[in-house]
Amino acid sequence: MATYSTNEFKGGLKIMLDGDPYVIVDNEFVKPGKGQAFNRAKVRNLKTGRVIERTFKSGDSVEGADVVDVELQYLYSDGEHWHFMDQQSYEQLTADASAMGDAAKWLKEEAICQVTLWNGIPLSVSPPIFVIMTIIETDPGLRGDTSGGGGKPATLETGAVVRVPLFVQSGEVIKVDTRTGEYVSRVKE
């Protein structure tokens, strides 16, 4: 893998630190007029999501991380692993629970996901921003209430629970924003 000099540091660059892949979030060049220059970087651990601060002597080099984002199609889960396919190469890849994180509850079969690969292995999975799902269970709300105020929990076909307006009923199909986990609208089939 390539190495990067601090002069190449910028937001989004993926580097290896202490054996883990990190992405640079913020990079600041500091230098006393007559002294040693440093790069103060904020970096996010791509495995844990934790952001930490690191300082480098300017001009030093850091190993790059073999991290790429690819679009994969979700196939199925065997309960322990989640299986995906590259639609170009038909290669199949397997993600574990820690890579899936919250994404698992938003995935229906055949969904296209953004998957971050580290050395070819899924490191994290982002579900589609909007998903369309059927409600399998929710309390019957009051008919005629269209205000949307209040709301009630509804369980979706994948097991995810979202708050929906009172007028939305079991069996209906809704659109959900997976970034916030919020109901967006009903969808006519």
Partner: protein, 315 residues
Amino acid sequence: MRLRAKLLAQVRAFFATRNVLEVETPALSAAAIPDPNLASFAVCYAGPGPRHGQTLYLQTSPEFPMKRLLAAGSGCIYQIARVFRDGEAGRRHNPEFTLLEWYRVGFDHHRLMSEVAELVTELLAGRLLVAEPERLSYQEIFQQHLDLDPHRASVAELAAGAAAQNVPIPPGMPAEDTDPWLDLLLTHCIEPTLGQGRLTFVYDYPVTQAALARLRPGDPPVGERFELYLDGVELANGFHELGDASEQRRRFVAENATRQAAGLPEMPLDEALLAALATGLPACAGVALGFDRLVMLAAGKSSLQHAMAFAIDSA
């Protein structure tokens, strides 16, 4: 840009009333500063003339030619100079920028600090400054913030101090040389707190950071150098100027040795400067002020791109 032009006019008026002469010196030189922490741009001169085909360097400051003028009897001088430093870019750095540099014959660094304060106070015209300027020695700021003596602390003590402040320690820090550790602590723990609502002068640096300043024997001996901070931003660096040619040569040679050890190119020494020092530099103090940073602060901004027409990314 209007503010910048207005401040430039004020600078010229300030020095005109004090009989300090504006000068211009070459930006290109056959010699360059060997300071291992400064990188000079090198350009190739195609000719004609005796320097045909030679590598020339863009100045990182106009200090050397200005000292040649001082040695030749110019008296007090100032220059608004475009300078170039490779490898420096960020919110507060741009590889080319404007230095306001001036020299006062007969001044020491304390008297020059007073003049710097007068000029900057006048240029800021009430902005940012709510208290009188303060002067703290390099030793005092380290003692106040970190309870460390910067002149005597070992690398191990400085490293422990950094760990205690949760400073992320960069890989590859030296085991012997304390200066990079002092710079680490200064930039991470101290600088951001300096100059809150007032001008903060830091003076009397470790002898290893004296650069072109005179040393004052004592316990500990110090370099008669100062820096000015405002709002956490380093604005100016000044010296009670070293006039001893052989001492200056010794420092240059040592810096080139450090460069060689670090795998950096050695720089051709400025023999014309050393010859001028040998004929006699009048006792003087000099200071270089980052004009773009001052414009940035006067404009209430936190990035240099607001003080320049076109910063490096769009130059």
